[in-house]
C-alpha cells in the first residue's frame, strides 16, 4: 500500500462543478482508469481519495493536490496517462508523485483573478479603490464557518495584493490565507471588495495558481 499525490488542473467547463461533483467524477475516473486503488472498508466501500484543499464552485485551479492510496505497484507515469484518458473535459492530471508534505502545512494560496467590468473606467476605478482598501488594512465581512457566522477583518488574511486594470478587465494577483486553520475564500474577498466599491463584475474568473506553506515555499 502506498500513498500517491496527484496534481490536477480544473479548468473551463469543469469549474462549474461543486467539490462533491469533483469527488464523484474522480472516483469514477479512477475506476475507468483501472487504477489499483485502495477501497475504504465500511458498509459502503469507496475508493480512498482525499483533497487537501477543495476548490469552490466557479474557481479554477492549475496545480491542485489530490491524495490517493494504491495497493499494487504502478508507475507514476502510468497513473497520469490512464487517468487522463478517463477524465472529462476540463480536468487533467499534471503529474503524480510522493506526498512530501502533510496537508496541514498549507498556509497560503496564490490566485490570479480577472474581473470583467465591461468598462475601462470601472476597471481602473476598482483596481485603485481595491488596492487602497487592502492597503488601509480594514475590510470587514461576515464569514461563515462551522461555528457559525462571525465578522472578521479580511485584510488580516491577505498577504499580498496587486490589482491592475487592463482595458475593461481588472487583473489581481494575490496571496491569501489558505488551509485548515485559517482560510479565506477568494470569492468572498472579491465580493466584499466589489460591495465596498459599488462595482459589480459581469464575468469573474478566479484561478488558484498554487498552494504555499507558511514560509512561502511551494506546497509539495
Amino acid at each position: 500500500m502506498k500513498n500517491v499525490r496527484l496534481w490536477y488542473k480544473k479548468e473551463g467547463l469543469a469549474k462549474y462543478g461543486s467539490h462533491l461533483d469533483l469527488v464523484r467524477c474522480f472516483s469514477r475516473a479512477v475506476r475507468r482508469a483501472q487504477i489499483p486503488i485502495w477501497y475504504t472498508e465500511g458498509f459502503n466501500p469507496k475508493p480512498y481519495m482525499t483533497f487537501p484543499l477543495p476548490l469552490s464552485l466557479g474557481q479554477q485551479g492549475v496545480h491542485e493536490p489530490l491524495d490517493i492510496r494504491i495497493i499494487d505497484d504502478i508507475s507514476y507515469d502510468e497513473i497520469v496517462n490512464r487517468m487522463n484518458s478517463a477524465l472529462p473535459i476540463g480536468l487533467e492530471i499534471v503529474s503524480a508523485g510522493e506526498s512530501v508534505m502533510d496537508s496541514k502545512e498549507i498556509s497560503f494560496a496564490e490566485y490570479s483573478v480577472k474581473l470583467d467590468f465591461q468598462s475601462a473606467d470601472k476597471a481602473q476605478y476598482f483596481a485603485k479603490q481595491a488596492s487602497a482598501i487592502i492597503a488601509g488594512g480594514e475590510l470587514m465581512a461576515e464569514k461563515k464557518s462551522k461555528k457559525g457566522i462571525k465578522t472578521v477583518n479580511l485584510c488580516e488574511m491577505v498577504q499580498d495584493f496587486c490589482a491592475e486594470a487592463d482595458n475593461e478587465i481588472c487583473e489581481i494577483k494575490m496571496i491569501i490565507a489558505a488551509g485548515n486553520t485559517l482560510n479565506l475564500n477568494a470569492d468572498l474577498l472579491v465580493e466584499t471588495l466589489e460591495k465596498a466599491t459599488e462595482c459589480e463584475d459581469y464575468v469573474r474568473s478566479i484561478v488558484r495558481e498554487k498552494l504555499l506553506t507558511k514560509d512561502m515555499t511551494d506546497f509539495c
Binding site: L13, S18, D21, R28, V30, G58, P88
Partner: protein, 618 residues
C-alpha cells in the same frame, strides 16, 4: 461553447454544472458535416432527465448515424429560466450550445402528465411557436414519444408527430424520411402526410375530432391517407435491438446515476390498474448473456459502481438466476452493486437477493397494492397475504429490518374495510419481525407504507372507471391514518390535487390543449414539483376555458363511449379490456401469460412470451 453572456448567468444560478454539457461520453460532432440536428428534450430538470434510460438509448441511436447529431436539452430550473429570459438567452442544446430553434427535430419524451406545461415552457424559451399550426416551416419538427403518447390528445395542438410504442426502429425511419424531404424542399404538409404512412407514426393534425352535445367524443376521422388506427411499434428481438454501450456520465448529481440495462420489455402479469403492463405487451426477454455484456460495457465506459437491472416485475425473468450467478463474481470483485427493482412478493428470490447484497445492502420494497384479498383480486394483483408475509419473513431472517409496502387508495370497488386492511397487513408484517427468533438484538423494525391515490389510465381495464374525488381521497387518507395500530408503521400519502390533474390529462381530449396553454401563460410550470404546483391557477384556467375537469377525472364512462384514444392501437382490442373490466367487477382474477393465455390480442404483434406459449401448448 460558453459565451460571455452565458458565463455571466451561470455564476448566478444554483448548480450551474447542469447547464454546461461537457460530460464524459457526451457526443460532439462537426455540425457542418451532419444533415440533421436533433434536440432530445426531457421536460424536467437535468437531475431527473439524465437518469432516464429512454433518452440514453435514443441519444446513442441517433448519434450512431453519421448524418445526424443528437443533443440533450433539459428544462432549466426557475432561477436559470429567469436569467435566460432577462438576458435574451434562448434554450440551447448542451453539446453545442446552439439554440434549438434552428434544429431539424425537437423530440420530447412524455413520461408523466404533469410535465406538459414544461414542454410549452421549453418551446417558448426556445423562441418556437407553441402550436403546430403556427409553425409553418418543415423544421423544427416537434415530435414526442413515451407512455403518455398513448393518449397525446391534450397535447395534440402542440405536437406535429407522436410515436406510440418503442422508438428504436421508427426514429431512424422518420429521420430518413425527413432527410429526403428536406432535400426535395417539401413543405410541412407534404412531409406530415408521408410520415403518417410509416407504421407507428401519429400525426394529430391529420385527424378531425367531433364531439357530442354532452362533451364526449363523437368521432375521430383520419384524412389525407392517414391510417384509421395508428399501430404502436415494437421491437421483436431484444438481443439484436440497438442498445447503448456507453452512457453520458452526469458531472453533477442525478437521481439515478448508475448503469441501467433493460432485461425485458412487457409484463406477463396483467394487473388491471397498470398501464405499463398493457402498453408494453407482449413480454420479450433479452438473453442473460447479452444483458451481462451490456452491463460490463457500460460500467467499463462510465466508471459506475452500481448496476440496476431494469424491467417490470423482474422476478419473472427466466434468466434471472443465470444472470446474477454469472455477474456476481466480477461485480463483487470490482465492488459493483447490483440491484433488482420491482421484486414480486410471490416469487421473491431470497438467495439471489442475499448474494446481491454482499456488496452493498439496499432496502426492500413490496407492492401488495391493496389491503385485502378481495380488492387484490379485483385489481388482479395475484399476490396473497401469505406470500407477502412469507417474503417479509425471509427478508427479516436475511437480516433486513426495514420493509417498504406500496399501496393505492381509491381503487375501483374499494371500501373502508379495504383501507383498514392496509394497516392490518402492515401490522402483520411487523408481527412477523418479532416472531423471528434470529432477529438482531435491540433493533426495531420499520415498515413504511406508501399509499398513493389511484389514477385510472387509458389502455387498462379501469379506463372507464371514475377516479375518486379529492374529498373522497382525503377522507380515505384519514381512515388509513386512523387505522394505524403501531408506531413501527409509518404511513405516507400524497395530496390528491396532483393525482387529480394527472387523471384529467391521462384521459383527456383535444379540448384540454387550450387549458394547458392558458395555465402555462398564467404561470404553471414544473407541476411535478410541490413548490411550484399551483392547483388554484389550474382550476382558474379550467374555469376560464369553460371546461369542467371533473368530466375527465371523476365521471364513469360507458363501454360504448368513443374514447379520445380509440384511434390508437396498442395491440390489445377494446373487447379484451371490457372483458377484464367485467371480471374485475365480479372479483375474478385472470392468470398470467405464462400460466394461461388470456387472449389479449398481443400475439399478433409477434414477439416473446406469445411464441413461448405456442411451444408449450402443443
Amino acid at each position: 461553447m460558453i459565451s460571455k453572456k452565458l458565463e455571466h448567468i451561470l455564476m448566478r444560478v444554483q448548480k450551474p454544472g447542469r447547464y454546461t454539457g461537457g460530460e464524459l461520453n457526451s457526443v460532439i460532432k462537426d455540425k457542418s458535416a451532419v444533415e440533421l440536428r436533433y434536440a432530445f428534450c426531457f421536460p424536467d430538470t437535468y437531475e431527473i432527465g439524465s437518469s432516464h434510460l429512454g433518452m440514453k438509448i435514443l441519444y446513442s441511436l441517433v448519434n450512431a448515424r453519421d448524418d445526424a447529431w443528437c443533443e440533450r436539452v433539459f428544462a432549466p430550473w426557475t432561477d436559470m429560466e429567469q436569467l435566460m429570459r432577462e438576458n435574451g438567452v434562448e434554450l440551447y442544446a448542451l453539446e453545442s450550445g446552439d439554440p434549438i430553434k434552428d434544429f431539424d427535430v425537437i423530440g420530447f419524451t412524455l413520461q408523466y402528465e404533469l410535465s406538459y406545461t414544461n414542454v410549452l415552457n421549453m418551446l417558448d424559451l426556445a423562441g418556437i411557436p407553441l402550436r403546430s399550426a403556427d409553425r409553418k416551416g418543415l423544421t423544427p419538427l416537434i415530435i414526442a414519444g413515451g407512455p403518455c403518447v398513448c393518449n397525446a390528445e391534450p397535447m395534440a395542438e402542440f405536437l406535429d408527430i407522436t410515436l406510440p410504442g418503442e422508438g428504436e426502429e421508427v426514429t431512424n425511419e422518420l429521420l430518413d424520411l425527413l432527410k429526403e424531404h428536406k432535400k426535395m424542399g417539401s413543405d410541412k404538409e407534404t412531409f406530415l402526410r408521408a410520415a403518417a404512412k410509416i407504421k407507428g407514426v401519429y400525426v394529430p393534425s391529420l385527424y378531425d375530432v367531433s364531439y357530442n352535445d354532452d362533451g364526449t367524443v363523437k368521432e375521430v376521422t383520419a384524412r389525407d391517407g392517414a391510417p384509421e388506427k395508428v399501430e404502436k411499434r415494437i421491437v421483436s428481438n431484444l438481443d439484436t435491438m440497438f442498445a447503448p454501450e456507453t452512457f453520458v456520465v452526469p458531472n453533477t448529481e442525478a437521481v439515478f446515476d448508475r448503469t441501467t440495462v433493460e432485461v425485458f420489455r412487457g409484463c406477463i402479469r396483467g394487473c388491471r390498474f397498470c398501464q405499463a403492463g398493457f402498453l408494453y405487451r407482449p413480454l420479450r426477454e433479452k438473453s442473460p448473456q447479452e444483458v451481462e455484456r451490456q452491463c460490463r460495457a457500460i460500467c467499463d465506459s462510465s466508471g459506475y459502481d452500481e448496476i440496476s437491472l431494469c424491467s417490470l416485475s423482474i422476478s419473472d425473468y427466466k434468466g434471472l438466476e443465470e444472470l446474477v450467478t454469472n455477474m456476481l463474481p466480477w461485480a463483487i470483485d470490482e465492488k459493483i452493486n447490483v440491484s433488482l427493482p420491482s421484486l414480486r412478493a410471490d416469487n421473491f428470490p431470497k438467495d439471489l437477493v442475499e448474494k446481491l447484497n454482499s456488496v452493498r445492502r439496499s432496502g426492500l420494497t413490496f407492492a401488495p397494492e391493496a389491503g385485502t384479498q378481495r380488492l387484490r383480486d379485483v385489481i388482479n394483483k395475484n399476490i396473497t397475504e401469505d406470500e407477502v408475509l412469507t417474503a417479509s419473513r425471509r427478508a427479516f431472517s436475511g437480516g433486513w429490518t426495514a420493509v417498504k409496502l406500496y399501496f393505492m387508495l381509491g381503487l375501483p370497488t374499494e371500501t373502508d374495510d379495504d383501507i383498514k386492511g392496509i394497516s392490518q397487513l402492515a401490522q402483520k408484517v411487523v408481527d412477523e419481525y418479532y416472531k423471528n427468533p434470529e432477529k438482531p438484538k435491540g433493533k426495531s423494525v420499520s415498515v413504511s407504507v406508501s399509499a398513493s391515490p389511484f389514477v385510472p389510465k387509458p389502455f387498462t381495464p379501469f379506463q372507464w372507471e371514475p377516479q375518486s374525488s379529492r374529498d373522497e381521497i382525503r377522507r380515505k387518507q384519514e381512515v388509513l391514518y386512523e387505522s394505524r395500530s403501531t408506531r413501527k408503521v409509518t404511513i405516507s400519502s400524497t395530496p390528491p390535487e396532483s393525482s387529480f390533474l394527472e387523471g384529467v390529462f391521462a384521459r383527456g381530449d383535444r379540448k384540454l390543449s387550450k387549458v394547458i396553454e392558458l395555465a402555462w401563460k398564467n404561470g404553471c410550470k414544473m407541476d411535478g414539483w410541490n413548490e411550484h404546483f399551483k392547483f388554484d391557477t389550474w382550476m382558474e384556467a379550467f374555469e376560464q376555458c369553460s371546461i369542467d375537469p371533473e368530466f375527465y377525472a371523476t365521471r364513469r364512462r360507458d363501454y360504448d363511449e368513443v374514447l379520445p384514444w380509440d384511434h390508437m392501437d396498442y395491440g390489445i382490442p377494446k373487447a379484451f379490456f371490457v372483458r377484464e373490466s367485467k371480471r374485475a367487477q365480479e372479483g375474478k382474477t385472470t392468470a398470467n401469460c405464462r400460466e394461461k393465455c388470456a387472449g389479449c390480442g398481443s400475439d399478433r404483434l409477434n414477439g416473446g412470451v406469445c411464441n413461448e406459449k405456442c411451444k408449450t401448448v402443443v
